[in-house]
Subunit: 348 residues, 4 copies
């Protein structure tokens, strides 16, 4: 049989089976089961200097109340129109102006807020408000009511911008999204600010606390304390050739990640640090807190300054360097990969 | 400002931010964060009577060796061209003819084989072969060498068809796929058939066994034993209004699912059983082993006979009924949802 | 100060503080915190040939009903009067004659039964009876009603003797013992024999089973299956220089030990096997099922024959040898030590 | 047969079986398997006012170096001569004078130090020193080198007294004690003070930290922070009818107790608090940090003042009341009971 004839026969067969919603694996196997990950997303950076004004302009385009959440989604250029930063993670910059309210709702998607600029706005979760300061890491657990607000100018309010990190694409892929609006614009406040931190944040837990949920019972991890930990370790001589000084946030009731679908990290790179190259299957979103430097990701070299946001796709080589003392916050889907025994990493 | 003007302004703004790879969340929020899951996949059934001949014809279209894996992929009609049965799971029918070999390889995707028709073919995993019989549930753990073969006609071989269930779409979404070919067409055999079952299958474990992997150390769960368990329980009076008699396969070293990304089940529905309605966020693929009946899924009512394969999307109401004693095998991504605290189910 | 004077002063001081229930640690530190374990129990063997008649005579001394449990306790000679085999474990030989009943009760102590001689007696746990055969390993979980009985001679009953293993001394040390008598001599039977094995014993679990208790949901691990597993592995070439072929019984819902306070093992030593020496912090009680050989424990060398029972104290060197194909059942407090990070073992 | 005859026969039989190290269970069953716990230990209090001078005098009786550990053991009056506070726990008051060293050693027993009086002494664990202040809770994990010291008077040293809590009796009962002396009197110091707290204490962990040990990686839980947490919760309105405001210390890497064999707690009872009665199977040792009140334990009513130490046996009813704002530290074997599924508690 000639190759042509064979190909024709196969095509005919493929047409026939397609009517039964069948397709030949052997034509797609190499795509479905690649030798190494071939992510659709690409490495990219959003320079805060270029987008800050656009974020601020969104305040004139729509109110927080009408928008429900006034967020500019950072769309990975490899996944246009998908509102996705990676195949599992979402990233957006949310603006809340003095006197505004973002109304209360809940959803199965978990959220993290990393405060970029401004202070004094609050988020309310489970009846407790948390006031935002730059560098704070705040979580909104799955299926908890949450609303955000900002004091009026008269009360000292100022525009606040934060990075929203959510597992939206993952939940889309798992078809597991549920959502509800709260009947009022804000939920009732039943506990003073700081209550959950006092209850769970001091390496102690309420004596009858039972872990029924993988999410951290602490809502806010203040920058002040995270920064102090990094500083102390650096002064004590800690410096990893790849990571600099790098800590992961934990749920103090389990030692796991604060959110079951997202790991979060903060790391310090001293001025002059030139990190070695690593790669990992957890695509990671970085947000620069302080300092400047360079991120080499695959074939790219991104210069970064404070508040820049960049993303490293799965399995692409990453090397970080700092020209001034730098602090980076980052998040990834590492706990998902770990839970499914799919995390692979390599230090090169 | 008129609505038109506002809309024009917003459009202009959207165009402006798009250049920075930014998009307005408020235009897509309701799609990204739905009130309830809105799966792209649809309920569907593949009638074995209609596809069996096509599967057998594949034997003439391509050899197992050339195909590497000669499989007809069951493509969910809601996800055409995606080689996916659900957003996380793949299903295919694999044919291996007497005397054929499907060459050895390994990949991070986990696989299950559920034997549909024929016997005597084998799969080799970790240096041990397992011979297939209809109804057997066999696993290929992530990143283990595996090859399949069938004795020649002279040796008594006959065509064997099995259902392949893999987590391919999940691994694609997680960008965590790695694969390798073995240098030879078959891996060396180092242990007699049945060794792993003797070692791990009798409610005992080797005294120094350590769990380093979430996957079951048993490769084959023979139908004979699963069927006997269901029979005994039914004779003992067990009958759930929704499930009939339903067991889940377990990894005997942990009590978890045999595969970290897929749960597998077998259930018995006695003749005349008319099950109540439930729904769950784990989209589920069913394969009929014995008997006939009806599966109501969402607005569909599928009649099923032996070897038919059907799928129930996330959160669609499902009710199963049997006109003759029926046995159903099924698999889903339940352990993924459980691990991430996203499993939700409802008995109606 | 002379040594005498100092000693007198110290004595005076010790007398003074004793009135306040205080004592000087420095006088007892070396005893309280020894360099290596110094068990009070000693290695010992009970030759079945010497004690079988005494066990049978107990049937004339007292009825099962009056005794509640007609058991001869094997008292470690190092702990006389303590009803203890080790500091945590108890061992006894229970006799039940045809037509007798041992009335129903429950207690927080967990129990295992290892059937030594005779068959046809039953134990009832959680509404299900299990019939005993030599070599079967049967458990009575903590705080479950249990009663034992034996058919009358007319119904084919014969005297049955089994080894009782309990965690009585451990529970005494933890002050955690609770007990209750059932209002009737037997509990009601609600499920046919074999139900729990069908439900949990086939590497499958009921789909909605939740682990709420660390104890195995299987009550009986039949000898036939355990023996078959050992045989198969031996035929497959498995033979460890220290253990021969050794399996541990597991709770199929967790992979842990069937009882949270006691591990249980069965091992095969082929004729001519001369095992190497090991030691471990879990003191272990052995019961010979088949065959004969020698157990070297510390400075002792015990010849063993079927049904002999011997004990190895913590950290004493143990080496086992077989003159004919031998099968040994054993149990220890290993899961207690493991849970508390106190297990230490050494292969010499 | 008359009762006398029967008793004679039984006695004869008992004598006969005793020679084979066998005893009749039916004569001891009610003692071995009691209806409720019958602890040998008794409720007791040590009034600091009565024992402080004796503790200080120990400094003249023996040097820290000669004593290795200069500790007065608080012996439960129900267990005289056993150096035990409960059947599993030990309690002692250790004195270290300015300029003294308690030489380095390690043992499988875990230890906690609760600082009672004085400050500036240090303990070194794993190459890191921790300076003591009253109310600090400090741990010495199993099998870690540790030594204690105190600056000289010239350097500002003052006598320091702390409560030692260890699991010595438990380890004795498990025959699992190992110990070693360090070749030098102090271990080398490799990390600055506060390093482990910076590394693990801020609800963050090193990114590559793996849990290989159940013991907390934090060595010191400073009083300042624990007190602040209790204060905040009390101001926020938290007050349990039984416990007042009660927190348990946790291992931040797991959420479990800092030590696998001992749970530790701190609770606040406001002036006027009159707690309700509870009981539990974990015998508990209390040390008063601040304030005064009454502890009713079984039939006893103990008035307590700062630094008093009292013990509540298993299952005895306990009710705590405060006449002035009181803070109590306590420890028990609760994780042992929990791990073995033997914890039972009741609020009355």
């Amino acid at each position: 049989m000639t190759a042509n004839t064979q190909q024709e026969q196969r095509s005919a067969y493929y047409g026939q089976i397609a009517q039964q919603h069948l397709s030949p694996l052997w034509e797609s196997l190499h795509n479905l089961v690649p030798k190494v990950p071939r992510p659709q997303i690409i490495a990219a950076i959003w320079k805060y200097a270029q987008i800050r004004d656009l974020v601020m302009q969104s305040g004139a385009v729509i109110s927080a109340e009408e928008a429900v959440r006034r967020v500019l989604v950072l769309e990975n250029p490899g996944l246009p129109g998908k509102s996705s930063m990676t195949t599992t993670l979402y990233a957006g910059l949310q603006l809340i102006l003095p006197g505004e309210l973002a109304p209360s709702h809940r959803h199965t998607q978990s959220a993290l807020r990393f405060i970029v600029e401004g202070q004094g706005a609050w988020t309310a979760v489970n009846g407790e408000r948390t006031t935002m300061k730059p560098g704070d890491f705040i979580i909104t657990p799955s299926w908890t009511w949450h609303d955000h607000g900002n004091p009026s100018v008269e009360e000292g309010g100022e525009p606040v911008i934060w990075l929203d990190g959510l597992d939206i694409p993952l939940i889309v892929n798992l078809d597991a999204g549920f959502a509800e609006n709260y009947p009022e614009s804000t939920q009732p406040i039943s506990r003073p600010e700081g209550d959950s931190f006092a209850r769970y944040g001091h390496n102690m837990l309420p004596v009858r606390h039972r872990v029924t949920d993988p999410t951290s019972p602490i809502f806010s991890y203040p920058y002040e304390r995270s920064r102090e930990a990094l500083d102390t370790l650096y002064r004590n001589g800690e410096l990893d050739g790849w990571d600099g000084v790098k800590l992961r946030y934990v749920n103090p009731a389990t030692g796991g990640s604060p959110i079951p679908t997202m790991a979060t990290f903060m790391q310090f790179l001293p001025a002059g640090f030139s990190g070695r190259t690593y790669r990992s299957t957890d695509a990671t979103v970085y947000c620069v807190v302080e300092g400047s430097g360079t991120a080499r990701i695959g074939d790219n070299a991104f210069s970064f300054e404070p508040h820049d946001i960049f993303v490293a796709p799965s399995w692409q080589p990453v090397a970080l360097a700092a020209s001034s003392d730098a602090v980076l916050f980052s998040y990834s889907d590492r706990p998902v990969l770990s839970a499914l025994n799919l995390l692979r990493e390599e230090r090169i």
